[in-house]
Amino acid sequence: MATYSTTDFKGGLKFLMDGQPCSIIENTLVRPGKGQAFNRVKYRNLVTGRVVEKTFKAGEKVDAADVVDIDLQYLYNDGEFWHFMDEASFEQYQASEAAVADIKKWLVEQDTCTVTLFNGDPISVIPPKQITLEVTETDPGLKGDTQGTGGKPATLSTGAVVQVPLFVQIGEKVIVNTEKGEYVSRAK
């Protein structure tokens, strides 16, 4: 297995810690005028999303993590797994609940998502920044309020709930920002 030494450390480097894939956020070299050098490393555990800090003695080695980000089309959910496909090779991947837990409410069939693979299996999924969803439930609101001055909750076709302007009605399609979980505009 490939290894990295502390001299290879930099932002974005993917390595294994306790068998889990991690990505370096920040690496600072501590070199006292006398004594040995250390690397202060802040990294994200790519499975749990937790940010951890550790200090490595210079020259320490870590195993490289086989982690890649690829664009995959979301196909469907079979109740247990979320299925994705590489549009070029038609190869299919199945993601577990853990990999999509935070974002499954933003998965729209046929949307292209960025999927992080660890040893070939999806461990996290980033949906497109903006997606279009249909409003399935919301209060009728006031007719004639076209200023969008107020707001109300609306349930969307994936089950996600966002605040929308009063004029948005059931059956309309809206554009949502998935990073912020916010309504952007009505879809044309």
Partner: protein, 320 residues
């Protein structure tokens, strides 16, 4: 601050430093940056280049100085009197917000000064440059461990106690250090627990480092476990490092030999020792003096409130 402002303020700083020494009859020397010898100190990594020398078919290796210490000491032996160097030095180390490969160093030697005399002068210089004059806190290495890490006697404490101290201070987990390696755990308590607390709204001077870190400082007469070496910290940053200087050629030869042995242990390349320095010291020992090196880029960072050394220099290493 615009780039022009930075350049102007750096230029002003250089003038202030020179004026400080001219007023004290300390003369500026521009010693060579290239030498056939390199420092054997295991913590310093010299860069080198090759020079065509008359009569030699092969180009000869010359090292860029990591500090002007050796040539300055030769000048002192030859009767230069008080001298300072203000210019570039080179260290083949990783870059960081506090490190450049080439950086500006101020180094000076004062005849007849003991360690305390020189500490007082360093503080006076630093205070004359910082925006607000700061009070001084002076602690021995041992006192610093007592005050800032709660370790009563650093010389007799155990590796386990030092690890407990790191844990108690919620220092991030350390990877790759042997649990019994007391020396390294001691270093970590110093860099992770103590140093971040030093020089806050004051100038902290740490003295009497362990004798193994003496480098070329004299061993203390009162306590042979310690050396007459001091470091100056401002805003948790090491700014200067000084010694009450060793005088005898024999002692230099002995310390150099020890360092070369350490280089073998650490797996570092061998380096040629400065024979010219040893010869000069043999002819006339170093006059009684203390000397100190101070990072000028860091001093400028502190003066201007800059957090990254790249913002303090005209063009940073990686853009040069």
């Amino acid at each position: 601050m615009s780039k022009r402002d930075i350049l102007k303020k750096r230029s002003d700083l250089m003038q202030l430093i020179r004026a400080f020494f001219y007023a004290r009859d300390v003369i500026e020397v521009d010693t060579p940056q290239l030498s056939q010898a390199a420092t054997p100190d295991v913590h310093l990594h010299s860069l080198s280049t090759s020079v065509q020398v008359p009569g030699q078919a092969e180009k000869q290796r010359y090292y860029l100085h990591t500090s002007p210490e050796y040539p300055m000491k030769r000048l002192l032996c030859e009767g230069s009197g008080d001298i300072f160097y203000l210019g570039k030095v080179f260290r083949d180390d990783d870059l960081s917000p506090r490190h450049q490969v080439e950086f500006t160093m101020l180094e000076w030697y004062r005849l007849g000064f003991d360690m305390q005399n020189l500490i007082d002068e360093v503080v006076e210089l630093v205070n004359s440059i910082l925006a607000n004059s700061r009070p001084v806190e002076q602690l021995s290495f041992q006192q610093a461990f007592q005050k800032y890490a709660g370790i009563e006697d650093v010389f007799s404490t155990s590796a386990a106690d030092l690890q407990a101290c790191l844990k108690q201070n919620q220092i991030a987990e350390i990877v790759g250090v042997d649990t019994k390696d007391k020396e390294l755990w001691q270093q970590l308590v110093l860099t992770e627990v103590i140093e971040p607390q030093l020089g806050k709204e004051k100038i902290t001077v740490i003295t009497h480092f362990p004798a193994k870190d003496a480098a070329l400082a004299r061993i203390s007469e009162q306590d042979s476990r310690t050396a007459q070496r001091f470091e100056v910290f401002v805003d948790a940053m090491e700014l200067a490092n000084g010694y009450y200087e060793l005088a005898d050629a024999e002692l230099y030869q002995q310390r150099f030999t020890e360092s070369l042995q350490q280089r073998v242990e650490y797996g570092l390349p061998n380096v040629p020792l400065d024979k010219n320095l040893i010869e000069t010291l043999k002819a006339a020992p170093l006059p009684d003096c203390s000397g100190v090196a101070l990072g000028v880029d860091r001093l400028f960072m502190l003066q201007q409130g800059l957090l990254n050394i790249e913002d303090a220099v005209s063009i940073p290493t990686q853009q040069a």
